[in-house]
């Protein structure tokens, strides 16, 4: 694409290679989600120019930021921060990359106002205006004369965000910047950042190990583990249709129950109100190809309900796969109860007890209803489902 961010890189880290390939149109936000040590921050560092890439290229708004023709083979070449032979890397100060990290990294010897205005040209009048505007956006306008040492963690992170927003940037990189802040502040800063990114029409990349944060902030989510981008898709698709069992585990699936039947399975139309909006199965009957003997059904705590076999038809949810299981334990949670259900494959899945049901005893048999689950074959890969074609 001619504008936006285009990443296609391979970076070698100590234990494995990080390989990432994705595009972010301007104004869109891309989330890199995965466990610690997966290599997500390495990708951001490569885009920012803090590490060199071994092969591939990074293009931003039509400018090449980093390029390397082939893998740099020696360990020493890989360790060096400069571009190797035949490689190209725009120096840090010309990349126009805005980076916000978990550590605010404010300059301790400068006031908040000087920090925020660091990336602006102080000789112009616009600079003071930009500093004031950015400070008001994040809510630190009454702290402009303070020094970073006197600020709380949340205040420092806000100043760091204002500092980036006041500078010239063509892509915004966020490396878990809001972890360690209380949830109200997190939500505020995340929505503020999203607005700024859209209004300036720049691409943004967020690295997080919090799935909810990735889903709420980003329009596309990439799931990454051990240096590999395992799946890229929109936030709901990645959770509803994970590409493989490892991805499913990362997005919250707790159990994978084997199904053993060769007949095609038809799920009758489920009433639209019982499924999330936009779910492809709403209101339509759909047929899935017959699972083989080694098919696995993924169970996610948010997608299962406990039902009585007897009143499944009267519960308002018809259709769906019913799985026999046992109650492992039951405990109070919030205004109700949460039941740990032991599934036939040996895992436990937490499940909220429907209101009005009697609290079960440990060891009681129970039935789990799961609607439109993802299916995986014996190798852990997702099985295609015709219902998703629309």
């Amino acid at each position: 694409m001619t504008s936006g961010l285009d990443v296609d890189v391979r970076v070698t880290r100590r234990h494995f290679e990080v390989c990432a390939r994705f595009e972010v149109p301007p104004g869109e936000r891309f989330g890199l989600f995965g466990p610690s040590g997966a290599g997500k921050s390495t990708v951001l560092s490569a885009i920012a120019g803090l590490v060199g890439i071994d092969s591939g290229r990074i293009v931003l708004a039509g400018r090449v930021l980093s390029a390397a023709p082939a893998a740099r083979t020696t360990a020493r070449a890989r360790r060096s921060r400069s571009a190797g032979a035949g490689a190209f890397k725009v120096p840090l100060h010309m990349r126009r990359v805005g980076l916000l990290r978990q550590n605010a990294g404010l300059f301790p010897h400068m006031t908040v106002a000087a920090n925020i205005g660091y990336g602006t040209d102080p000789s112009t009048e616009d600079s003071a205006h930009a500093v004031g505007h950015a400070a008001r956006l994040v809510g630190v306008e009454n702290l402009l004369d303070a020094h970073p040492g006197a600020l709380s963690g949340g205040q420092r992170q806000r100043v760091a965000l204002a500092r980036v927003l006041a500078s010239r940037f063509e892509v915004l990189l966020l490396d878990e910047p809001f972890s360690g802040l209380d949830s109200a502040l997190r939500v505020r800063l995340a929505s503020l950042t999203a607005e700024e990114v859209s209004s300036r029409a720049v691409p943004a990349v967020l690295v997080t190990h919090d799935l909810a944060e990735a889903q709420s902030f980003c329009s596309q989510v990439g799931v990454m583990d051990r240096g590999e981008l395992l799946q890229v898709g929109d936030p709901l698709e990645v959770v509803l249709r994970p590409a493989s069992v490892p991805v499913a585990r990362m997005v919250g699936y707790r159990a994978f129950v084997p199904l053993a039947t060769t007949l095609p399975v038809t799920f009758p139309a489920a009433p639209a109100r019982s499924l999330p909006l936009g779910s492809p199965a709403a209101g339509k009957p759909f047929t899935r190809p017959g699972p083989s003997a080694h098919c696995l059904v993924g169970l996610h705590p948010d997608r299962i309900t406990m039902v009585d076999e007897a009143d499944a038809s009267t519960a308002g949810i018809s259709g769906g796969l019913q799985i026999g299981a046992r109650v492992a334990s039951c405990r109070p949670a919030g205004a109700g109860f949460e039941v740990d259900v032991a599934t036939p494959d040996g895992s436990t899945v937490p499940c909220r007890l429907p209101t009005g049901r009697q609290v079960p005893q440990n060891g009681d048999p129970c039935t789990i209803l799961v609607v439109d689950p993802p299916l995986f074959d014996g190798d852990g890969r997702a099985r295609p489902s015709q219902g998703m074609e629309s």
Binding site: H93, G105, L106, F107, P108, H147, G149, R156, S167
Partner: protein
């Protein structure tokens, strides 16, 4: 019921022991402080104002002072120009074989100054290849002002370079990275972020270097007996006229070498308090 009586028996004796160890620590600190200041006290007690005025008023008596100060200023300039970039590269680990580089800088520190002087004769003396090259530039590393500067540089270099390295290392790399990402090329980053934050540590390193340079003696006595700096003046006076006669020059050396370090240390202590923050 009194508080002590309410405590179990071991509580009271533990309190007594804690108080006793606090007092002991305080006493020990005072003793060490007095021991360190003792010699200065002895100087002030034994010096006589009339003898001092006579000694320092004699013709040519202040020449060694001028020589020392001039040579130390030149030595300091050499250290700052050559040693600061080296210290920065060491701090940022931009050099190959970093441990070897550090060991190399430490070598003059580990050698007694007398040994440094002796080895400098074999390294830069007039009979050596390097000495021959120097003589083409009309310089000699034997009993000249140049030799004095060389000796002072060798004695002071590890103190300055290692101190400067530590000062640069105390500036987090992330701060320099952030400055660069915000648009500053490396020279501006150095001016706006690195140097201001490293300044207190650099001042301390400079002050330590100054004190070591102006007080250099072991290497100086071997390769730069002439021209006399203040340390040589004290030594010669000591040998020729006795201990008491050397006291005025000792006072002069103390007066000349102390103020800069004291200023630097107090400034750096104040600055560090202000910027001690985890950002």
């Amino acid at each position: 019921m009194t508080p002590d009586a309410a405590l179990p028996p071991y509580g009271a004796s533990m309190q007594r022991r804690a108080r006793a160890s606090n007092v002991a620590a305080l006493l020990a600190s005072v003793v060490v402080w007095l021991a360190l200041l003792g010699p200065l006290g002895a100087l002030l007690v034994h010096i006589s104002p009339t003898a001092t005025r006579e000694a320092l008023g004699a013709p040519g008596a202040l020449t060694p002072l001028v020589t020392s100060v001039e040579a130390s200023l030149v030595a300091l300039a050499v250290l700052v120009v050559a040693g600061t970039p080296l210290a920065w590269m060491m701090a940022r680990e931009r050099l190959p074989l970093p441990r070897l580089v550090e060991a190399g800088v430490l070598v003059p520190l580990l050698m007694p100054p007398l040994v440094i002087g002796l080895l400098l004769v074999f390294f830069l003396g007039p009979a050596t290849p390097l000495g021959g090259a120097l003589s083409h530039l009309h310089l000699s590393a034997s009993n000249t002002f140049f030799a004095l500067v060389v000796a002072e540089v060798y004695e002071a270099a590890p103190y300055y370079v290692l101190g400067a390295q530590s000062a640069f290392a105390s500036v987090a790399v992330e701060l320099e990275e952030n400055a660069a990402l915000l648009g500053d090329p490396w020279r501006r980053t150095l001016r706006r972020v690195t140097l201001p934050l490293a300044a207190p540590g650099l001042a301390t390193a400079l002050a330590t270097g100054w004190a070591r340079a102006i007080g250099a003696f072991g290497a100086v006595i071997v390769i730069a007996y002439h021209p006399y700096g203040l340390p040589m003046q004290i030594w010669v006076t000591l040998q020729q006229s006795g201990l008491a006669a050397a006291l005025p020059f000792a006072l002069l050396l103390v007066l000349v070498s102390l103020p800069l370090p004291l200023l630097a240390f107090s400034w750096s202590a104040r600055s560090r308090v202000g910027t001690r923050v985890a950002t």
